[in-house]
C-alpha cells in the first residue's frame, strides 16, 4: 500500500461528499457499522420500477469509508436492484481506483454492504452470507 490511497479524488469525496444527507421520501433505509473502526454508514433509497431513482447516505468514519460510500451512491443511481445484488468488491475498488490493502478493505466495503442490506430489505429477501461477510 502506498500513500496513493489518499489521492486527491478520495479526499475530495471525503471533504465534499456527494449525495450526503436525508431522503425524506425514501422507500427503504439501512444502516450498519464496522466494529473495527466504528465507521457508520446509513443509506436511504428511493426505488421506482425496480431501479434506484434517488439515493442519499449519511455517515461518520474514516476517509476511505465515507468516500467510497459517496462514490457508490453516484454509481448506482439508475441501476436495477438485481444489478446492485450482483455488485461486489471489485466494483468498489474500481470506483476508488486503489486497493486500500487488507486492513482497510472493510472500510471501503461498508457502503456496499449497507446498500445491499437496503436492497435485500426492500425485496423482503434474506441477507446472504456473502453480504454478511463483506464487512
Amino acid at each position: 500500500m502506498s500513500s496513493d490511497i489518499y489521492k486527491d479524488i478520495i479526499l475530495d469525496y471525503y471533504r465534499h461528499p456527494r449525495n450526503s444527507g436525508d431522503l425524506t421520501d425514501a422507500d427503504v433505509r439501512a444502516k450498519d457499522s464496522n466494529p473495527l473502526c466504528g465507521d457508520i454508514i446509513e443509506m436511504q433509497l428511493k426505488i421506482e420500477d425496480g431501479k434506484i431513482s434517488d439515493i442519499r447516505f449519511k455517515g461518520k468514519g474514516c476517509a476511505i469509508s465515507q468516500a467510497s460510500a459517496s462514490m457508490l451512491t453516484e454509481a448506482v443511481k439508475g441501476k436495477t436492484l438485481e444489478e446492485i445484488k450482483a455488485m461486489g468488491k471489485t466494483d468498489v475498488l474500481n470506483l476508488l481506483g486503489i486497493d486500500p490493502g487488507p486492513t482497510r478493505i472493510k472500510c471501503a466495503l461498508l457502503g456496499l454492504k449497507v446498500l445491499k442490506l437496503a436492497v435485500y430489505g426492500h425485496l423482503g429477501q434474506t441477507i446472504t452470507e456473502e453480504v454478511r461477510q463483506l464487512v
Partner: protein, 414 residues
Amino acid sequence: MIEKLATVDTARIREDFPILKRQVNEKPLVYFDNAATSQKPNSVIDAINRYYRYYNANIHRGIHKLAEEATVAHEEARENVARFINAKQTGEIIFTRNATEALNLVAYSWGKANVGKGDKIVVTIMEHHSNIVPWQLLAQEKGATVEFVKIDENGELRQDEIHELIDDSTKIVCVTHASNVLGTINPVKDIGRLAHRFGALLLVDAAQSVPHMPVNVQDIDCDFAAFSGHKMLGPTGIGVLYGKAEQLEGMPPFLSGGEMIREVHTTGASWKDLPYKFEAGTPNISGAIGLGAAVDYLRGIGMENVLDHEREITRYALDRMKQVQGLNIYGPMDVDHRVGAVSFNLGDIHAHDLASILDEDGIAIRSGHQCAQPLMEFLQVPATSRASFYIYNTKDEVDVFIEALEKARKIFAR
C-alpha cells in the same frame, strides 16, 4: 543515531530484539504499539525454544526426568513473578491466559460468591472493556449496580466522585493502575485505603503498569491485581492474577477439571491448595517459562530505569507533539502522572486514516476505540490514535513519528 540515556543503554537493548531490525514498507520499523503488545527479546524466544527442544513434558504429574525439569521451570517462573511484584507468597500468583481471563476469574469466582442484590461495584470511566464487561454481567445476574468514577480535564480520576461513590454498599473497587488510553497513573493505594475502610476490596488492572514501572502489590495493598505477559516482553497466552491468599482461599474454583483437584469421587470432589485450585487443565507451560525469562530481562534493566527511560521518551514526544498544528492529546501532560501511552487526534483526520499514513513510513501505532468505548463516549471522540513506548524506543524514532504526523496533516490539508 541512537541516543544513550543515563540509565538505559538503548542501543544495546535494541540488539536484544531481533524484530527491531525489520523493515516495513522499506523503512525501519518504528514500533509504537507497545500498549497493545510488546516485542520479545532473544532471551524470551530462546527460553521458549529451549523448553520445546530439550524438556517438553506435562507438569505436576510425571515422575520422569523431563516432567520434573518442566515442573521446576514452570514453578520457578511463578516464584519469579511473585518476587517481581512482591507478593507475600508464591501461591498468590495464578497463571491465566491473559489479564482479561484474570479479571473474569475474580468476577465469576469471587463475584458470584460475594456480590448480591443492591450491592455496588465501583469502576472508572477509563477502564478497558475487560474491567467493565465482566462486572456488568455479574451485576445483571445479581441485581447489583456498576458505577463509574469519571475524570477531570487533565484525564485524572475525580477525587470527589471516588469519595462519593465508594460507600457501605460497595463490595469491590476495580480500577486500572495505568490507563491504556490516557496513560494516567491512578492513586490505587489511596483508593484501596478508602475501599477497605468501607469493607470493600480493591482490584487493580495492572496490565499497563507492571510492564512499565515498579509495582509492589503489598505496598498498594490491593486484594487482586491482573496483568498480561505479552505486554511485558513475554509471550501471548500467559497472564497473571495476583490475589491475597486470604481472598483466594475463600473463593470457589473458576474452571474445573484436571490439575486443580485433590480427590474426585462419584459423589463430589475436593480442590488442591493455592494456586492450583484455579489452574484447571494443562497450563501454558512454555508461556509461563517465557514470562519468567521476560521478568529476568526486565529485572536486569531495573524497573526504575525502565520507568525513567519511558518518561524521558514520553516527555520528548509530548513536547514535540504539542507543536504539531491541530494535534489534540488526551491525558495528563505531566509525565510524572502517566506512563508512555499517548492518545491523540490530529485535526479531523480519522484515527484509521492516520494509522494508514504512518504505516507507510514503517510506524506502528494503534487506532480505534482502544477497547475503551465508555471513555471514548466521555471524551466525545469516535476513536483515537495511540503511540505507546517501551525500553527500546528512541528519540530518533519520535522524530520519525512527528515527521509522519506532519505529512498526514499536509495530505489532509489539501
